[in-house]
């Protein structure tokens, strides 16, 4: 059996969703496919955690949802990054970078 898809580091899912939406507005399935693609299959999202995160982000005003028809005539909720969401994304990306560098330094130190 190949490696199981990894669990996300706690708290990073929000950042990944924001990042995904930074390119273009997208629906839930789109987000999950995009994350899976971009991570080359390392992260596979459970529907529960995905929609939980979406609901949380929407309530915090970081993304906006809107019902729109899809290509094959169903209705889906498309999510857009808000200005606040963009700011948060920038902050978190920077912070993440700092932490990763720091952790890498510690790991390489020995």
């Amino acid at each position: 059996m190949p490696d199981k898809p990894s669990d996300l580091v706690q708290g990073t899912l929000d950042m990944l969703i924001l990042k995904t939406l930074a390119l273009e507005p997208m629906h839930g399935y789109g987000i999950s496919v995009r994350i899976e693609q971009m991570s080359k299959g390392v992260f596979r999202l459970n529907a529960g955690s995905l929609f939980l995160a979406i609901q949380r982000l929407e309530r915090d005003g970081l993304i906006d949802g809107e019902w729109k028809p899809t290509e094959n005539n169903r209705r889906a909720r498309y999510y857009t990054l808000t200005a606040k969401g963009r700011k948060r994304l920038n902050n978190e990306t920077r912070e993440w970078g700092r932490q990763v560098t720091a952790i890498a330094r510690i790991l390489e130190a020995s």
């Binding site: 929609f51 309530r59 915090d60 209705r75 909720r77």
Partner: protein, 878 residues
């Protein structure tokens, strides 16, 4: 912003549940479809694809539940559902719910009522400007640490030498006759020094304060009156200014009206400047005044204390004759006002708290039994996926619903209970009338209800944690799945109930014994069928005072002629209410008396016939008579105690005696009477000197006329009032009976005894209900075992002994703990006890026997039930 948005979305989903659900359904549906479509593109069949998605991404139903339960609104909704469920459960067990709510409401109501009294008397700040800075200064008697009134020269030194205060004033207050319109009425009058109003920062709502001129000795005088009297007599505060009132034989102008609600000291409604109408007493040993002051904003109470002690020591050195052993005490006025009642009130609140705890323990027991009955329901819920926390929350919600219902009923009970308490309490508890249900009492009640719900809801809820799912589902009966924890809890609760009621019973027993002792004390006179007429004649100089004694002379001879009057007399102070005491000397008056070595006596002034009226035996010599007038050498009558202490068996008649009341003139002893308990039943008799009223006119302007009657005393009030009115319209009268006046003496102990007795009785009833409940339950649980024993040959007697033994074990354990706690706690009561030790063995023995007896009685019924268990039926039933 984010918070608002969160709340808005939450609210939307709360109130538009269905739409939100549909949207979530649709969104998840689309998600599923899209992923399935993707899988179908790769060549899967549709059913297969959908199944694969489900496997990979998890069940959609669970996903929905997860997403839905993430918002705060879900919690609200859950609680609401729990509340509704709790309501339904209570509705189903209406009887049980009613009993629970009622028991709880009693506990909460009693606590809230008691707390409203504590709140009004002890906790609420005084209604003055910045009340925490107002302090009371008193003479500190170093010998016994007691606080007392202050002399005018001491006050002046304190005032002039201290720097810790913004203002300092002394006052003296009393009920006195004031004529604002036609007839004289009793008013509470305070004589205050110039800075008095600055201490309280109170400003007249109409008119002005006293002018400096008006506060000087010999001024024409002026008064300030309270708003209520102004409105009563003159229509409004503004109208009152400029009017005149008669007081102390003078006509005085009203120069100002104080704001509504200001009544310090006591219930004062007339204030006039000190040292004008009545000159200050100039002796340093004449302790006649009370002192209040306002601390400077930068000075703490401790700093003020330190400064005053320095000043006090300085005065001690400078005036050793009068000030040795005397210093200054500084206390916050609020603490000073309630110092007598603080302990009583806290003890009562603690007692009511104990009753409340017992009620909680009882309910915990009832709910525990219920919870055991519901084990199966709970097991089913757990099996269907409810978490333990979730189930506990639901159980606690149920008890919370009951507690809040009980709290509401409790507040209603407290409204009524507070009134009862106010009516029962001694009349001189300050600010008691303000006992109302305010926000603080409501908050208290609410907290108490929530605490109660936790106390009695938590035990059963905790027990749920121990339930073994499999076992209880398999067994399917409500029996014997309770587990050891529940049994232990139940036992513990009963033990606690017994221990707590033991403490209350012992406290109540001690107070009761002490109260009975107080009641049985021989007072030295016969108070029954004696009418008391308080009166007050206006007089500010010797001529006026002599007119006053003339008034009493006429009144007494007129009253003696009323049919039904057996004897009549008059006394300045009634027995049990002694107010003045001081040094006395026999045979010669030293030039420079050493006050620390002279004996003390109570000083009294009486009219002829008073001893006969009150039933005080004349042991030797004669009573006063009409010959004892102002113009002849003075006579005195002493009591037995003084004769014994000072004359050591010699005949005191014919000796002369000097006292420190109003005259340095010698008084010849003409009689000896029996001893009285002048200070009330709690203190033994002091030496006492009686003077004849006509010879001490200054002390005889306000006498209590006493009348021994052949019928009920009150029946004579009207004819006596007419006689007095015929003599003067300026004399206000207040009628009471000797017995009523004496009962004021024991009002505080009566209040304590009654209340604690009621609480203890309540506690015992509740605890016995607890014992009964538990033993019944135990018999129910053990009916198999009992049946088996009986089948194997145990007699009914053996079985009932078995049950009683278990009850006895619980009871004695509770009593041992209760005894230990009582021994520790009742020591607090010692200061409230009269002729009874806190460790009184008889009280302990009686309480132990009574409690054990009652506990056995409470378990007797369950024991009987155990005896009647039919082994055949019981075993077959299983």
């Amino acid at each position: 912003m984010a918070l608002l948005r969160n709340i808005a979305t939450g609210l939307r989903s709360l109130f538009r549940r269905e739409q939100m659900d549909r949207e979530l359904d649709e969104e998840l549906g689309t998600y599923l479809e899209m992923e399935a479509a993707e899988k179908m593109k790769q060549g899967m069949g549709r059913r297969e694809a959908v199944r694969a998605v489900r496997l990979e991404r998890g069940s959609l139903e669970i996903t929905k539940e997860v997403v839905r339960s993430a918002g705060w609104e879900f919690f609200v909704e859950m609680c609401w559902r729990d509340f509704r469920f709790a309501g339904r459960m209570l509705g189903k067990n209406l009887g049980f719910a009613l009993v629970t709510v009622l028991v709880m409401a009693l506990g909460i109501g009693a606590s809230a009522a008691m707390f409203s009294v504590v709140n009004a008397v002890l906790l609420r700040p005084l209604s003055f400007n910045d009340p925490d800075r107002i302090v009371t200064l008193s003479s500190l008697w170093k010998q016994d640490g007691s606080h007392g009134p202050v002399s005018a020269p001491d006050f002046r030194d304190w005032h002039d030498q201290s720097t810790a205060f913004d203002a300092m004033a002394y006052y003296e207050d009393d009920d006195a006759a004031v004529t604002a319109s036609a007839v004289a009425e009793y008013a509470h009058v305070a004589m205050v020094s110039p800075e008095f109003f600055h201490v309280f920062r109170v400003q007249p709502v109409a008119g002005r304060e006293f002018s400096p001129e008006e506060t000087k000795p010999g001024s024409a005088g002026a008064v300030v009156i309270g708003n209520a009297s102004a409105v009563n007599h003159f229509g409004s505060a503004v109208n009152a200014v400029g009017h005149k009132i008669r007081f102390g034989g003078r006509t005085l102008e009203i120069v100002g009206v104080l704001p509504p609600g200001f009544h310090f000291p006591g219930k004062s409604d007339v204030w006039f400047p000190s040292n004008t109408l009545f000159p200050d007493t100039e002796s340093r040993s004449g302790h006649n005044y009370s002192v209040v002051a306002r601390l400077k904003p930068t000075v703490t109470l401790e700093q003020a204390r330190a400064q005053m002690i320095t000043i006090g020591s300085r005065l001690e050195q400078k005036y050793p004759e009068s000030n040795t052993g005397k210093n200054v005490a500084v206390t916050r006025t609020r603490d000073d006002m309630v110092s007598n009642f603080r302990l009583t009130l806290w003890v009562m609140l603690a007692a009511v708290g104990v009753v409340f705890l017992i009620a909680c323990a009882n309910l915990a027991n009832m709910l525990l039994a219920k919870a055991v009955g519901r084990t199966r329901e709970i097991a089913v819920r757990a099996a269907l996926g409810a978490s333990r926390a979730r189930i506990m929350l639901q159980l606690i919600t149920e008890s919370l619903v009951m507690a809040l219902l009980a709290g509401t009923v409790g507040v209603l009970l407290a409204l009524w209970g507070a009134r009862v308490l106010v009516a029962l309490a001694p009349a001189d508890v300050p600010r008691l009338a303000e006992a109302t249900i305010d926000t603080r009492v409501l908050a208290f009640t609410f907290i108490v209800s929530v605490v109660a719900s936790l106390l009695f809801g938590l035990a059963p809820a905790l027990q749920v944690l121990r339930v073994d799912l499999n076992k209880s589902l398999k067994q399917g009966t409500t029996r014997s799945t309770a587990g050891g924890l529940a049994d232990r809890l139940r036992g513990t609760l009963v033990v606690a109930e017994i221990a707590l009621s033991m403490m209350l019973l012992i406290a109540a027993g001690l107070l009761l014994k002490s109260f009975v002792a107080l009641q049985n004390v021989s007072l030295g006179f016969r108070p029954e069928r004696v009418l008391v007429v308080e009166s007050n004649v206006l007089a500010s100089d010797l001529e006026g005072q002599k007119l006053a004694t003339r008034f009493y002379k006429d009144l007494l001879s007129n009253v003696a002629n009323i049919p039904g009057v057996l004897h009549a007399g008059a006394a300045r102070t009634l027995p049990g209410h002694a107010s003045s005491a001081g040094s006395y000397w026999v045979d010669y008056l030293p030039q420079h008396p050493d006050f620390s070595k002279t004996p003390n006596a109570v000083f009294s002034v009486v009219a002829p016939g008073t001893f006969a009226t009150l039933g005080i035996p004349l042991l030797e010599g004669r009573d006063f008579n009409d010959i004892d007038t102002y113009n002849v050498p003075f006579s005195a009558i002493i009591n037995e105690k003084l004769a014994k202490d000072t004359f050591h068996g010699q005949d005191p008649i014919g000796h002369v005696i000097y006292w420190g009341l109003d005259t340095p003139d010698p008084m010849r002893i003409v009689g000896v009477v029996g001893d009285l308990r002048q200070w009330g039943p709690a203190r033994s008799p002091w030496p006492e000197i009686f003077g004849a009223y006509q010879q001490h006119p200054a002390s005889s302007t306000n006498l209590n006329v006493v009348v021994r009657t052949a019928m009920a005393p009150a029946a004579l009030s009207e004819s006596i009032r007419q006689k007095a009115r015929a003599l003067s319209a300026d004399v206000p009268l207040k009628f009471t009976t000797m017995e009523a006046s004496l009962s004021e003496n024991v009002a505080a102990p009566r209040f304590r005894t009654l209340l604690l007795g009621v609480f203890a009785a309540l506690a015992v009833c509740l605890a016995m209900a607890g014992v009964y409940g538990v033993m019944s339950y135990v018999v129910g649980q053990r009916s198999n075992e009992i049946a088996l024993r009986m089948a194997l040959g145990a007699s009914p007697g053996d079985v009932s002994r078995l049950v009683l033994k278990q009850a006895l074990v619980l009871t004695s354990l509770g009593m041992v703990i209760g005894l230990a706690c009582s021994a520790a706690v009742t020591r607090l009561l010692q200061s409230m006890l009269f002729e009874v030790k806190a460790s009184d063995p008889l009280t302990y023995a009686v309480v132990i026997a009574a409690l054990a007896g009652v506990a056995l009685a409470a378990s007797y019924v369950p024991a009987r039930r155990a005896m009647r268990v039919d082994p055949m039926i019981s075993l077959r039933y299983e």
